[in-house]
Amino acid sequence: MNRSTLSRAVGVLLAGVLGLSVVAGCSQDPEPAAGGPVTITVNGLPPGTEAVDRKKFLDDKAEFEAANPDIKIDAREGYMDPKTFATKLAGGQLEDLFYVYFTDPANLIARKQVAEITPYLDQVPAAGQIRPELMKVFTGQDGKVYGLPWRNYSMGLLYSKALFTKAGLDPANPPKTWAELRTAAQKIAALGEGTAGYGDYSKSNTGGWHFTAELYSLGGDVAVKDGDTWKAAFNTDKGKQVLRQLHDMRWTDNSMGERQQLEYADLLQLMAAGKLGMYLATGDNLKAIVNQYKGDYNDYNLGPMPDGRGTLAGGDGFMFNAKAGPEKIRAGLRWLAFKYNNPDRIEHDYQYDAANKNPVGLPEPNIWTGEAAKKQQAAATKLANVPVANYKPFAEGSADIPLKLEPPSAQQIYAVLDTAMLKVLTERDANIDALLADAEKQVNSILAAV
């Protein structure tokens, strides 16, 4: 071996040894020794900028650790982000217990990236009172449970009381059909000064999400199960109707504003700025509109979904890292049973929120059944600090609207449907038939892997 070959070999060897040691160092913490305290990493710690929520979290953590000296909570900021999930998992940085939206569990279970928790569910006494259809979101095709839901939401029509009044519309009587909504949007847009009557998304998967909500409201489906497999079900007259009415509002009525390619925060900002009449939203949007964009709870009303043949129900919950062992799963479930899935603590939490000017009483479906549901309802009624009358149309109108969960692989499907939404909102001559046919092909290939 000559000198240069030798030096190259030494260098590569050094790099290899160091590389292996780094990779080995990234592996997950081992399970604790029997009898020792268990430390679990969890996310969901609110950032310092949300001082009230952060203090509440840390107080809860201290109380839990005092009551459970064998468990230590290592809390991290942030929530489950699909963009960083796989890399955190690969690098051993994924929390043992992490927050997810309802759009994620099906994929995580299919990819075997989460731990099964069925044998340990006795750690959560109230688990049996959680609505079965929500438990299904966290249940695999094999019937095993992989997580627990925390909150549930359903879509409605969020609208500006001031713009309704200014346009001669009755804020107590929101549009009940898409035809009525179209007329109302025209009247609001006629106010001028850049006011949009109705707003919708078409970027970062939010367009597909709203397409789904609009399709559900007409009684349509995004995907249906055909035997053991799922198939796209939106390339129908109802799917075309969704896109056609958006296209006509955008291009014929000019009631959706010039600015498109909008994503989640955009419509909240427009609503807070008084430049938007209506958009589809969940009750929790109100908190963001008020806290982040300086809106006022009194200025906004919530009505039921137009046409009301179905409403998209989403939500969030918690799942466990596939590398978490039994001790960590038991400890994590006890933390959930204390902080998140605890009907006996709902009133305590609402009291804290009310005392700290966090909203209590925003309209959202209950995750509980039976006694737990009654406790939640009683606490919300007793401690509500938002203008509940503004949400009366939603509460009354939504009672009979069936909740429909998101399709499997929801985020992937939403990404595909974003394109159809984008095209109808940005191209006057968009070919709706071709857009839906193309999306159908892509979604079927996504669903083939479910």
Partner: protein, 299 residues
């Protein structure tokens, strides 16, 4: 030449122990390259033949990922868009800096000011530039449409129209990056011997003839190098389409955006993303090889 054998005698290999310090320094560099360049590179290639979930062992899938790629209509769309972006970026971003450099070189006053002004956008973090342009392009109250409205000219949907979306991205990229190319051209222009221009003037050459027969031939090497570097850079365009038009817009989806989409937003499939990366690597590798060959010839 006679001096060569003498030099060779002086450079006689010394023993390893004489060079321990040098090897130690070398090892640091090698370790960094191995960890942060070579290992990810090799891992990426391996990943392109695997299905992974980062929990269980990777599964070897042969060429499945590549077959899936070729069957995806977006694969071809992304390449077509990337080539279109690269072509448009060359039209604007390649010739404009040359033109500006020639103009700056001719300036007698405020040369320093204009140099800084041209280079200023390069100093902005890319995301800041893109967000700034996002405001410019806003079809409602954006700067461009406000100006057009003021001049009673037709407004544009900019990034929101399939007809203008790509060119809008190119304008952002050109504005953000042309400062560096301009400075390189300017440096090259200042190395052109003044006698050549004097001789040309004595021969009665016009401004255009001086540019055509003196300036451009003298800049030929720099122009070729910049051309190749620009092709390599623009084919990796990501931040402009990602921020301005999103990962789901087929009119502007580029190869890098599609890789991101495969890995993080739609498919969550790192094997597929790695396969696409390998293909991009091969294409860019050819341009890089041409660059290396050219610069080696010169030196």
């Amino acid at each position: 030449m006679a001096i060569q054998p003498a030099l060779r005698r002086h450079r006689r290999p010394r023993s390893v122990s004489d060079n321990l310090v040098a090897y130690a320094f070398l090892a640091g560099g090698l370790v960094c390259f191995a960890l942060f360049s070579w290992y990810p590179l090799v891992r990426g290639v391996l990943l392109s033949f695997q299905q992974v979930n980062f929990v269980t062992d990777p599964e070897w899938v042969g060429l499945d990922n590549f077959e899936t790629l070729f069957a995806d209509p977006l694969f071809w769309t992304a390449w077509r868009n990337t080539l279109l972006f690269t072509g448009l970026a060359l039209v604007f971003g390649y010739l404009l800096p040359l033109l500006i450099a020639v103009l700056l070189n001719e300036l007698r006053h405020f040369r320093g000011f204009f140099r800084v002004a041209v280079y200023l956008p390069v100093m902005l973090p890319p995301i800041v530039s893109v967000l700034l342009w996002q405001y410019f392009y806003d079809p409602g109250n954006g700067l461009f449409n406000t100006v057009l409205r003021g001049l009673h000219l037709p407004e544009s949907a900019w990034t929101q129209s399939p007809r203008t979306a790509m060119i809008s991205l190119v304008l952002v990229a050109t504005w953000s990056n042309m400062g560096a190319a301009t400075l390189i051209y300017l440096a090259a222009l200042q190395n052109v011997p003044g006698e050549l221009y004097e001789a040309a003037e004595l021969e009665g050459a016009s401004l255009w003839q001086r540019l055509r027969h003196v300036t451009l031939p003298q800049l030929r090497f720099v122009m070729i190098v910049l051309l190749l570097l620009q092709i390599v850079a623009t084919m990796q365009v990501f931040i402009e389409p990602y921020q301005l038009t999103g990962t789901t817009n087929p009119d502007t989806i580029t190869v890098m955006v599609l890789i991101y989409r495969y890995a993080f937003t739609v498919n969550h499939d790192f094997g597929l993303a790695a396969a696409m990366t390998v293909l991009l690597f091969v294409v860019l590798g050819m341009f890089s090889a041409a660059y290396l060959w050219l610069t080696r010839e010169r030196t």
